[in-house]
């Protein structure tokens, strides 16, 4: 048995799909692969393909106190406010449509950076790529974490809050100097997100609650917590350190790409150079037998949720940095679903067991490429959801043994018919 071919077999379909997609773009989308080298401080050209956040659909449950009136009597007014809410939200989405606005505050080494659609894909997709790391590990143990979007919001919220306090000088010790103190909000965000993961792990591994149910709690309550932190406001910031995370460049590529690369390298080392990967796969594949073998299954599961929380923290910082504000309602909205999708596309089964970080990465890139392709075709962001849905179903069907058996039996009976004739 060829070891190498086994190791990369799961990448075949995702890579083929990605290749097809890129091929499609090569032929049918102008300037898709056009990459320019831009110098820092050069004039802002609004040539970049608009890649709004994913999706920029605003809209919480529309009943908020701001537009609640005696609704039974003034549903018309309510309808108007809905309209306004929709329009306001679309307006809020505008800033995201601007290309990497280089205020000259982003730092790029060497002063040059690459610029173009593929780069944008990597930059915008960074959030899901990072989320997919934690999600892959959690799913590998047979669990799931649907709270990562909410945790992202929390992370962004605390970062934005602290940085604006520091910037305004209302925080003791704020006089440390702008170049360094942005570390504090970043650390705080990561700590908080990791604690959220710890909480999820406690419910699942500690109390034995079903993962979907356990993480549902934080998914529901998390955005409330985020709004608590920001006091209901959308806090904007322009601290260069924080902004750099998603808007800056290093070595020609967006800094976010380097964050992704670093995290994947660390995750890869952590899972493959230690016994953690083996234990995760063992627990996910047969938890009982793993216990019999002396593995502390509970601790392993707990750990995966902690890691997932941390990843959500990083993704939350990226999201906030991207739009230079913390939007507790929309940050990370539905991204948990993208992360799950990326994981499943990448070859990790939802039942748990073998996991493939590389597959999840390709899956995330595929999803983002699909999204970007649609945007460039002027498809409204929300309609992008339709092909995404079909991809989910197709992947599920392909992974389903029942489906495969049925398809095989159809072919077998056709062959039999043809032969017996």
């Amino acid at each position: 048995m060829n070891k190498t071919s086994n190791r990369f077999r799961h990448l075949v379909w995702p890579l083929v799909s990605l290749a097809l997609l890129l091929l499609f773009n090569a032929f049918f989308t102008d300037n898709f692969f056009k990459i320019e080298i831009k110098k820092q401080d050069s004039a802002q050209t609004v040539q970049a393909p608009a890649v709004p956040d994913n999706p920029p659909a605003p809209g919480t449950s529309w009943i908020t106190p701001e537009n609640y009136e005696n609704s039974s009597d003034s549903a018309e007014a309510a309808a108007k406010t809905v309209d306004q809410a929709g329009q306001a939200a679309q307006a809020a989405a505008e800033p995201q449509q601007a290309p990497e606005k280089n205020d000259g505050k982003g730092v790029s080494i060497f002063g040059y950076y690459l610029y173009g659609t593929p780069i944008d894909i990597l930059n915008q997709g960074a959030k899901v790529m990072v989320l997919a790391i934690g999600m892959t590990l959690v799913i590998a143990t047979g669990g799931i974490d649907i709270s990562v979007g909410a945790v992202m919001a929390i992370a962004g919220a605390i970062a934005a809050l602290l940085i604006s306090m520091l910037d305004a000088g209302s925080f003791p010790g704020a006089s440390m100097g702008p170049a360094i103190y942005w570390i504090i909000p970043v650390v705080a965000a990561l700590v908080l997100a990791t604690l959220a993961g710890f909480w999820n792990g406690m419910l699942v591994a500690g109390f034995g609650i079903q993962p979907m149910v356990a993480t549902l709690v934080l998914m529901v309550a998390g955005r409330g917590v985020a709004q608590l932190i920001t006091d209901g406001q959308i806090i904007t910031f322009d601290n260069p350190g924080l902004v750099f995370l998603c808007n800056g460049h290093a070595l020609f590529l967006p800094f976010s790409v380097w964050i992704v690369v670093t995290m994947y390298v660390v995750a890869g080392l952590l899972t493959r150079k230690t016994a953690l990967g083996l234990f995760i796969e063992s627990v996910g594949n047969n938890e009982r037998a793993s216990r019999y073998a002396g593995i502390e299954a509970r601790r392993i599961k707990w750990l995966t949720y902690v890691i997932c929380g941390f990843c959500a923290g990083v993704a939350g910082l990226l999201a906030a940095s991207n739009i230079k504000c913390a939007d507790s309602n929309n940050a990370g909205l539905y991204l948990e679903l993208d992360a799950i999708l990326a994981t499943v596309i990448g070859g990790t089964s939802m039942a748990g067991g073998r996991f493939f970080l590389s597959g999840s990465l390709v899956g995330a890139i595929l999803i983002q490429t699909l999204t970007t392709t649609m945007y460039m075709k002027n498809v409204s962001p929300a309609i992008v959801a339709v092909p995404k849905a079909m991809v989910v179903i197709i992947v599920c069907l392909l992974q389903s043994p029942v489906f495969r058996a049925k398809v095989l039996s159809i072919f077998a009976s056709k062959a039999a018919k043809g032969g017996v004739q």
Binding site: G59, I63, P65, V213, Q227, L337, A382, A389
Partner: protein, 328 residues
């Protein structure tokens, strides 16, 4: 004389009803007017659509599955109806079409889930994406429903006047009607009991001769119908359709069902409980609005904590009954 033992299975829903009354009491004590009939009726008016959606969700959860497409179907239905009316179509045809689509879509999801053993979470997730996108294909912006005879009739004339200024509106009556039908269905029909059996122990249900596949597909079909109906109610309520709305509503529905005492693993709980779950959610929001000082996002946190509390309670009850049966 037989000692009256409070049946374990009524504990969760009793807890829900208790929470409802406690919150209501808090409201009445804290604010004037909170106890007024108008506030009570408004609770129903504002949450009728969620309530109807929660009924379908409850049935699906009782089979041990889940439906994430609820919010999207509501939004899609509302914008579809609004668009059709704007284009001059008869409102009744629009409503009929919307309901038909809901039924067919639910059936499709149920079929995929059962026939290919796909996880309900993923299938309805895809459904959510798909329908949401379809809503945007219909229209990218909200469309108000104006000058439609049917809608005007429903909104203005089709209500029972209880007293001066107090109306029992159509959508409330509709919700109560659907609720009653659902309760009778789940408690008093063989199909309804099959839903419980499947959620409780699918293997045993199969061995006992219950038509598992048919029942599951039927349940998802009902859920699709309820979501579509909720969308119709929503359109009536808002007098508009909006493809952007109800993002995340399925989570509200699920929360309402859990708070209403239904186990997410299925087989345990009452559709009746979803009524109180929805009312509790609505009450919390009303309370917060009345207060004006507390910020609305506390709703999310309180709801999350309530869900957690009910999950723990369910866990505890399950453990107690398991140890009881062992030690007899």
């Amino acid at each position: 004389m037989k000692k009256f033992k409070f049946p374990m299975r009524y504990v969760p829903i009793s807890a829900t009803i208790l929470v409802f009354f406690v919150v209501y009491l808090i409201g009445i004590i804290s604010f004037d007017n909170f106890g007024s009939p108008k506030v009570f009726l408004d609770l129903f008016v504002d949450n009728a659509y969620l309530g109807i959606a929660a009924i379908g969700t409850a049935l699906v959860i009782l089979t041990g599955g889940i439906d994430l497409s609820v919010g999207s179907i509501i939004a899609f239905t509302s914008i579809l109806i609004a668009k059709m009316i704007e284009s001059g179509c008869n409102a009744l045809w629009a409503i009929a079409l919307a309901l038909a689509i809901g039924i067919l879509f639910g059936m499709l999801q149920g079929w995929l889930i059962h026939c290919f053993s796909l996880p309900p979470f993923l299938v309805t997730l895809a459904g959510m994406f798909f329908v949401r996108g379809c809503g945007f294909i219909v229209s990218e912006e909200s469309i108000p429903i104006k000058n439609d005879r049917v809608f005007d009739f429903i909104q203005n004339d089709l209500s029972i006047t209880l007293s001066k200024g107090l109306h029992l509106r159509f959508i409330v009556m509709l919700y109560i009607a659907v609720l009653i039908i659902a309760i009778i269905f789940s408690q008093r029909t063989r199909a309804g009991r099959s839903i419980y059996a499947i959620g409780d122990n699918e293997l045993a249900a199969t061995l006992m001769g219950i038509p598992v596949g048919r029942t599951k597909i039927m349940t998802y079909t009902i859920a699709g119908f309820c979501s579509a109906l909720a969308g119709v109610v929503y359109a009536i309520y808002l007098k508009a359709g909006n493809p952007l709305n109800c993002v995340g509503l399925e989570m509200d529905a699920i929360a309402a069902v859990v708070i209403g005492g239904t186990l997410l693993t299925g087989g345990v709980g009452y559709v009746f409980g979803s009524l109180f779950g929805v009312l509790v959610l609505g009450l919390i929001q009303t309370l917060i609005i009345f207060d004006g000082r507390i910020n609305s996002w506390w709703t999310r946190i309180i709801v999350g904590l309530l869900v957690l509390a009910f999950i723990f309670m369910q866990n505890l009850i399950t453990k107690i009954s398991k140890s009881k049966s062992k030690s007899h």
